[in-house]
Structures are given as C-alpha cells and as structure tokens.
C-alpha cells in the first residue's frame, strides 16, 4: 500500500519541551469555548419567525418591561458552541466507560431512530386514547417483556428514574402495610447500598437502619435476621450487590423477611448481570426497579433522563401507582384516577404528571427485540465474563478484597491497599484519564476502603479490555512504587484537577456579568 503517493515525507515531530502557549488558548483540536453569556448577543437569534400579527394583548397588564438577559446565537454559532463543548466530554462512543454500578454499555442508534418515529415522539399525553394506541401498545409490550424477564406478576411503568422507582416500591410497601393496619417505621439498608436507598427510605417517611456486610462482601445474614422485628417495614437489598457479588442466600433472606411480616425491596441497578439467567421473582423479591438506562441501553445523556419501571409481587400489585396500561382484546386502555376505582382501588396514587418515560420505553423495547431472549442471556454472560477477565487479569497487581471468595458478577472490585507515597484511588483514576479511559467508580461502595469498582459491560471487545488492563497494570505498578507524578494527573485532559473545595466554599452557580460580580465583591 502506498502511503505517500505524492512523495511527501511524513512529518517528524520536533524534540519539543512541553507545550508552547498559543495566542488563542486553543491546542489544535482542543478548542476553548466561552460561555454564551460572554458573547454580546442580546439581539442575535438563530430562529426565523413569521411576522407577528397585531392584536391587542390580554396579559393582565403584566408585560415584561425589563430585559431577561438571554443571549442568542445564530445557527452556525450555536452548532459550533455545542459541538466544541461536546468535545470536552468523555463518552461511551469514545471508549471504555467502566463506572461500576452504572452499566455504561453501547447505546444502539436504532433506538434513537425508533424513538423519533412520530407515533411515539409526536403524541400528546392527554390525546384521546383512541389516537394513541400505538404508544400504549409499546408500553404494554415492554411491560410484558419486563414481567417475563423478572418472573414477576405486575409492573409499574411510570417512575422516572432508578431512585424514583425505589420510591415507588417503598410507597407500595407502605400502602400494603397501611392496608392491613400495620404501622412499621424502619427500613433496613445494607451499608454497601447505593446512597439513593437510604435517601429514598427517608423520603418515604421511614427511619433507616444500616445492616453490616460480612468479610466476603455479602450481607451479614445473621445480623439481618436478628434485627427483623415488628417495626421493620422492608429490607432494601441490591442483588447482585455493589461489591459485584451475587447474594447466594437471597431466597433465605426473603423468607426470613416475609416471616417477620416485612417486604423485600431489591435495587435492580445491577440487573445486567443476571438478565435472562435468573428471575428475581424466583428469589422472593416483592419489588425491584429496573434502570432502563442501564440494562436496556437507553442513553445516560450526561445525567438522565432515566426510566425506572418497578416490578411488583402479587402482594404489592394492588397498590401500584397510576396511570397504567391495560390490554382489552386488541385495544389498549390507560387506567387513570377515574377508572382505577373499578378494579384498582388500592392504588397509592400518582407519581408523575403523565405516564412515564415514553421516549425511554421505545428505546428499551427496540433493544430488547433486537437481542431477543437468547441475546439477553448472552448479554448477562458476556458482561460477567468481561468483569471476571478484568478481575483475574488485575488481581496480582491491585488488591482485590473479595477475589478469593470466587467469581464476581458484572463488576470487579479492587482497592488502593498497597499504594505507596500517599497515593490513593483518585490518583490511579485520574491517571487513567490520561490513558484515554474514563475512570471506574471511586470510593464506592463504602465497605471497601479506597474502593475501585469496575464494570466493563458486555459491549467491550477483548482488545479493548486488554488495552485497559495494560493501562491499569502500568499505573498500578507506579502507584505501588509511590510515583509522585501520578498526583499531577491528568495532564492531557481539557482541564487539570479542578478545585472542588473552592467551588463549594464560594458557590458560583450562575453567570454574573463582570461589573455586577465586581460590585458584589
């Protein structure tokens, strides 16, 4: 193959010392971008409108008299602004994004195309039901898949994200307890749980008590059993747990919880490890949310939107929130406040204005149909295979606190034990940035000191994993040798380490024009 047909020679990099300052502050493809408020653009707009017909206004005399302070950009400027900003982000489209318990898998583009089909994207939530049958059928079809995959009898589709799903589950539990006149006040949460679990329990009006983990990274079942009493409403368990381990005694835990008159909530954030392999319904679980933005590949979008349908046991199903979709022959019906009374008087009420995250339902259903039952099983197997490959390829270089207890599930946990020179997890994480990877989840779960939780997901190739492993091995060696230079990492990112203390001590949360800011000093 001829590389240089014109006879040009490849460039030879000069022996440079550091990076020269540029006039613009840009460095080739790394482009600095000001805030929109720093452009002088109060009269610029990127949208053209028809002329406004003259009409007397009926605004109660409340017309704005002062400018709002919203800058505008023409279309080319706006496209460039956001494109430049986008290039300062790491993303799953760019490389491995091994955030533990976040399931950053590839987001198929067919999902995006389908979500934009007009029968889903361009229908109003209050349209008459006969005009939204296609949308309702999507909700119903996805709901059926979720039931089949979890082995549960009922599902609430409206929760907006995982934490909202947790709330839905706990409110069902609370409603079920109240229906039998049983006032219980405590929710037990393992100390390894996601922060949303205790926060949700408190938001639902419960007192939270912590359950310890044992030395094998599992819930201490004896400690849990000994705390079960008539004041306990529910136990919130994550399975597979946040140490990346399956709770082998899950069924026994459920039985004990039920015997004590309480309910089992399962945090389904880690469902990716077991989808198509194990059904939570076979483990005695009463409620579990499913993060469609994790297991079912809907994009995270920099922090949402998510979607958190909650599967429910027979005992909790009567209390599920409104609205929901019912199938009646080949017609689909939305059950709301008005029609709930007939068959569904126990509902705890409405959690959101409309019907949940339709845009996420279409994406998740598209993904599920693409994989089918066989593909989803393969998803779980490959995600677990990839995580174990990482575990066994790194356990000789990084401390792996639970490696001896056997295989992990979809994520592998390590710690910074053995790092020298005051280096810790964050230094390894930031050095990974320089190697072109997103760091793993750091310092979580809290039960492992200096935790590093790595979830590769099934959409990484072996070559990608091998490169990641090589990078961590190299950085791990340096950390154990006390290589001080790691504290300066990252050096190749759009920004060096940022001063988070300053940000919290003197919060600047909105842009203030320089003269205003100065006057306020």
């Amino acid at each position: 193959m001829t590389v240089n047909p014109s006879g040009w020679r490849p460039t030879t990099p000069a022996n440079t010392q550091g990076e020269a300052e540029t006039v613009t502050g840009n460095r080739a493809l790394m482009l600095e971008e000001p805030l929109i408020f720093e452009s002088d653009a109060s009269e610029t707009t990127g949208v053209d409108f028809d002329e406004v017909p003259q009409h007397p206004r009926r605004l109660e005399g409340l017309e704005r008299s002062r400018p709002i302070g919203l800058p505008g950009l023409s279309e080319p400027e706006a496209v460039r602004h956001y494109t430049r900003l986008s290039r300062q982000n790491y993303a799953i489209d760019l490389g491995l994004f091994p955030l533990g318990s976040c399931t950053m898998k590839h987001n198929p583009r067919l999902n995006e195309k389908v979500a934009r089909m007009p029968g889903f994207a361009d229908v109003h939530p209050l349209q008459p039901q006969e005009t939204v049958q296609g949308a309702l059928e999507v909700v119903s079809e996805l709901a059926q898949w979720l039931l089949d995959l979890t082995g549960m009898p009922s599902v609430a589709m409206s929760p907006k994200a995982g934490a909202h799903g947790e709330l839905c589950g706990l409110l069902c539990i609370r409603a079920a307890l109240e229906a039998r006149g049983d006032k219980r006040e405590v929710v037990l949460v393992p100390e390894s749980a996601h922060g949303t679990n205790p926060a949700t329990a408190a938001f639902a009006g419960y007192r939270v008590e912590s359950i310890p983990a044992n030395s094998a990274g599992r819930v201490d079942v004896e400690a849990l059993k000994s705390r079960l009493a008539p004041d306990v409403a529910a136990v919130m368990i994550t399975n597979p747990n946040t140490c990346g381990l399956f709770e082998p005694e899950m069924k026994a835990i459920s039985d004990a919880v039920h015997a004590a008159g309480a309910f089992v909530y399962c945090d389904g954030a880690n469902f990716n490890a077991i989808v198509g392999k194990v059904r939570p319904g076979d483990l005695g679980i009463d409620a579990m949310h499913i993060n469609l933005h994790k297991t079912f590949s809907t994009p995270h979008g920099g922090g949402g939107p998510g979607s958190g349908p909650v599967v429910l046991s027979k005992a909790l199903a009567p209390y599920a929130p409104l609205p929901f979709v019912e199938r009646d022959g080949d017609q689909f019906r939305l059950v709301e406040e008005e029609t709930a009374g007939e068959h569904h008087g126990g509902t705890f009420g409405r959690m959101v204005a409309f019907h949940g995250q339709m845009g996420m339902f279409t994406r998740a259903l598209t993904y599920i149909l693409s994989h089918g039952a066989d593909g989803l099983k393969q998803v779980a197997e490959d995600s677990v295979l990839n995580a174990n490959y990482i575990l066994r390829s790194l356990e000789d270089i990084l401390d792996a606190p639970f490696a001896k207890s056997g295989p992990c599930m979809h994520e592998a946990i390590f710690s910074d034990k053995g790092f020298a020179g005051g280096l810790s997890t964050i230094d390894l994480a930031k050095a990974l940035i320089d190697e072109g990877f997103h760091p793993m989840t750091m310092y979580f779960p809290l039960v492992v000191h200096g935790a590093m939780l790595i979830e590769p997901t099934e959409t990484e190739s072996k070559a990608s994993l091998d490169q990641f492993i090589a990078a961590i091995r190299s950085i791990g060696e340096r950390a154990k040798a006390g290589d001080e230079s790691l504290k300066a990492a990252p050096v190749h990112a759009p920004r060096r380490r940022l001063d988070e203390t300053l940000a919290a001590r003197k919060p600047v949360l909105t842009y203030r024009d320089p003269e205003v800011a100065e006057a306020a000093e």
Binding site: G46, K160, G302, G303, P305
Partner: protein
C-alpha cells in the same frame, strides 16, 4: 449478535485466563434452583435491525401524530417547533452517551452546558439560582413543597385550584406518606383565579402558597400581592410554570416576589413524547440554595488556574448524605436540559419574545373566532397561548367527536377533573406558532357542528 463484540474464540480464551471451565462456573453463586437452564421460554429470539424497525414503525402508525392533524392540546405539554439543530446537538455522542459528570476533567462539555442552563433558567424565572434539572414539572413542584417545609419547619401548604390537577395529584400522593397537609380545591369556570381567597387563607401554620402562572385554565394573575401576603406570615410563595415560553412576554414570578419557581421545560426544545422524558425546572433564592434538591454545576479553577466547572454542594445529595439528603434524586434529565438550553440559545432574548408574541397573537385570534360560535363562551379575560371555553355541550364527548373529523381539538376539563359536573362543559385550547390558518378553520368547523 450485532451489539456483542466477543467471538467464541475470545470467550474460550478469556475463560482460560480466568481459569473457569465454563461460563456457568461464573454463575455458581446463584443457587442452582434459581438458575434458568436456557433462554426464557416462549419469548422471541434476536432480530435484525430491519425487522425491529419494521415492527416498531407499524406500532408508530397506530397513533395519530400531532404534526399530522390540526392540533390544539396543552395543559402541561405544548407543541412547539424545535429547530433541526437542537436534535442534532443532543445526538452528539459525547453528550448522548456520557454519564453524570463525576470526573470533571473530562466532562466540561456537560458541566458548562449545565452552568449555562442554570443561568438561563434563573434569569427566565427571575430567581438568583437554578439547579441542573429535575424529572419533570410535577415532581419539581413536590420537591419545592418539601423544601418549603424544611425552610419554614411548617407542614401546611395551600395549593391554588389553578395548579395542574396531575401536579396536585402527585403532591397529594406524596403527602399521604410524609404527613404534610395540603389544602386543594377544584377551579371555578370564571375569569378570576382564586388568588384573593388564597391570600386570605395564609396563616402562621402555612409553609407555602403554590400558584400556577399561567394557570391550568390559561389565566394570568399578578403574583405581587400574594407574595407580600405570604412573606408577611413567614410563608413562601412557590410559583409553577408549565409553559415557560410565556415568560418571553410576561413578567417572571421571581420579579413578582416568588421564592421558589418550578416548572416544566418541555415546551422549549423537548418534544411531546407522550409525556416523557421531560425536564423539571427548579429555581430559588440564593440564601436557600443549601436546601435545594438536585445537581448543581458550579464554577471553579483547575490546577493551572483555568476556569472550569464541577458538580458542587454535593453535601445536600444522596450519594454523600444518604438518609439526610435533601432529596433522593440521582439521575435527573440532563439531556432534555441540553435540548432546552440549546433551543433557548438559538432563540435568544429576541427570538423568545417573537415566539411568545406569535403564540399570544395566534391564541387571541382563535379565542375570538371560537367565541363567535353559538353558545360558546370564552372564560378567560387574560391568557397567554391557552384559554378555556365553555361549550353548550359536554366537552369530553366533543373532543372524541372532533377526532372523528381528524381534529385534536383541546383538552376537556372532564378528562382532567372526572366527576366535577360544573366543569364538564369546559374545553382548554392551546394555540402555538405551529397552528396554521387551515388548522383554525378546521377547528372552527368541527366545533360549530358540535354546538349546533
């Protein structure tokens, strides 16, 4: 399978490295009786992209898309034209496929966008600070009520009858569990809102008065007097905005003294999507920021002194504070916030004013046309792009009858307030810049036939 890169050879090699004889060995912690033997029975197997697309397209065709017919629905979700560049921007993979910006060195794109979004929302609402989004308007309103509870340490909230009934329903659901006391009622089909009655009801037990602006029937009222009355009793004013485009033309709630302003951001940049995902807007006074829920981006500097942005004040949040957090919210609606901020940046102040003026002028035109129909009365004296008419017949069947004529002609109050007989002739009609002259003619013809 097209989304799975591992080959059989890879799998075997990786199992060898792991030292496991088979994949099942990796699942050995799962009790044997809970392990499924093969793919779940009676479910379809994997399918090609073409086959899946065909199936989904067939479902899509079973709905009547808003863009295909004369369309006049509002009540918390509005059909506005979204510039093509907005959808392009939110599909940039670096935005679409990134996570919550926990590693700020490689997430400045999302963080700067959040900071710009916060500034735009704060300015639009007339507040000092705003967060980086909530799930939607209804959940934002409930979070505002519990925030007012925390600030005032009082349990009673007065909710105007003009607040969207589904928002009230969400708050009532939640209040059952937190034992907050909510006073609510059903609106009257009159030109005046219930602001005077509410003002009189504020007492020393009240943590907040909650009003919607413009309200569910489209009415607009000056919030200044009720803000003053609330403050005089040590209560807060929470304003709910479900149509933020209105604020291109009318004063912001913050300017009139609202302490917390929440809203639904869908109408700027986000499509109808049958109700979600949408984007909750949340703004308040700077002195209350530590009681605020949700993510916040803040400005700081990096090790070289360059300006950058980080997530800040996290000690309010669940991942740090656990059960003591201000809210359990984690994932919110950042991609929809991006759509909102990109659309608002394209509009700018000038474009937003034009858009708002166009909406209002169009709505005035339609209101006058419909008020000319026999037996049809316009309820509102004031409105932005949405108003209520009282029909001589029940509105709910009328809406279905209009569907037969191929017109999506508004939201009946019977749908929103089932059982409220005094409201059953009410029809709420929204008119945006997307409505054409032919659409208006079609609505008028369809309604005329029904009322005769």
């Amino acid at each position: 399978m097209r989304y799975l890169p591992l080959s059989e050879a890879d799998r075997s090699e990786m199992l060898r490295v792991i030292g496991a004889p088979s994949i099942d060995e990796l699942f050995r912690d799962v009790p044997a009786e809970a392990r499924l033997k093969g793919p779940i029975h009676n479910l379809p197997s994997h399918a090609s992209e073409m086959a899946v697309e065909r199936h989904m397209a067939a479902l899509s065709r079973k709905s009547m898309a808003a863009g295909d017919v004369p369309f006049f629905l509002g009540c918390g979700a509005y059909k506005h034209h979204i510039p093509a560049s907005v959808d392009h921007i939110i599909q940039r993979g670096e935005f679409l496929t990134s996570y919550t910006p926990y590693q700020p060195e490689i997430a400045q794109g999302t963080l700067q966008m959040m900071f710009e979004f916060q500034t735009q929302v704060a300015r639009l609402f007339g507040c000092e600070v705003a967060n980086a989004s909530m799930y939607d308007g209804s959940t934002a309103m409930w979070e505002a009520i519990v925030m007012a509870h925390r600030i005032t340490r009082r349990k009673k909230s007065l909710i105007s009858s003009g607040v969207h009934p589904h928002y009230v329903s969400v708050a009532r659901t939640m209040a059952k569990f937190t034992e907050d006391q909510l006073e609510t009622s059903v609106p009257d089909l009159t030109a005046r809102t219930d602001i005077d009655r509410l003002t009189a009801a504020i007492d020393e037990e009240t943590n907040a008065v909650v009003v919607q602006y413009p309200d569910i029937l489209g009415r607009i009222a000056d919030l200044t007097p009720i803000a003053e009355a609330a403050h005089a009793k040590g209560a807060l004013l929470i304003a709910v905005v479900t149509e933020p485009v209105a604020l291109g033309l009318i004063k912001s709630p913050g300017e009139m003294g609202a302490d917390i302003v929440v809203g639904e951001g869908q109408s700027i940049g986000v499509g109808l999507q049958f109700g979600g995902p949408y984007v909750g807007l949340f703004a308040c006074r700077e002195k209350h920021v530590r009681q605020m829920p949700g993510r916040l981006a803040g400005e700081t500097v990096d090790a070289e002194g360059k300006r950058g942005f980080v997530l800040t004040l996290s000690t309010r949040e669940q991942h740090i504070r656990r059960e003591k957090a201000t809210s359990n919210i984690c994932t919110s609606s950042v991609l929809c916030a991006l759509a909102f901020t990109a659309h608002l940046t394209l509009l700018g102040e000038k474009g937003l004013r034009q858009l708002a003026s166009l909406n209002h002028a169009r709505a005035c035109e339609v209101a006058d046309r419909l008020a000319g129909l026999p037996g049809v009365a316009l309820v509102n004296e004031s409105f932005f792009n949405e108003f209520t008419v009282k029909l001589p017949v029940e509105a709910r069947p009328a809406v279905h009858a209009m569907v037969e004529k191929g017109v999506l002609g508004g939201v009946s109050l019977g749908r929103l307030y089932p059982g409220a007989e005094e409201l059953e002739n009410g029809l709420v009609i929204a008119v945006t810049e997307t409505v054409t002259d032919q659409d208006i003619d079609a609505l008028e013809v369809a309604l005329r036939e029904l009322v005769q």
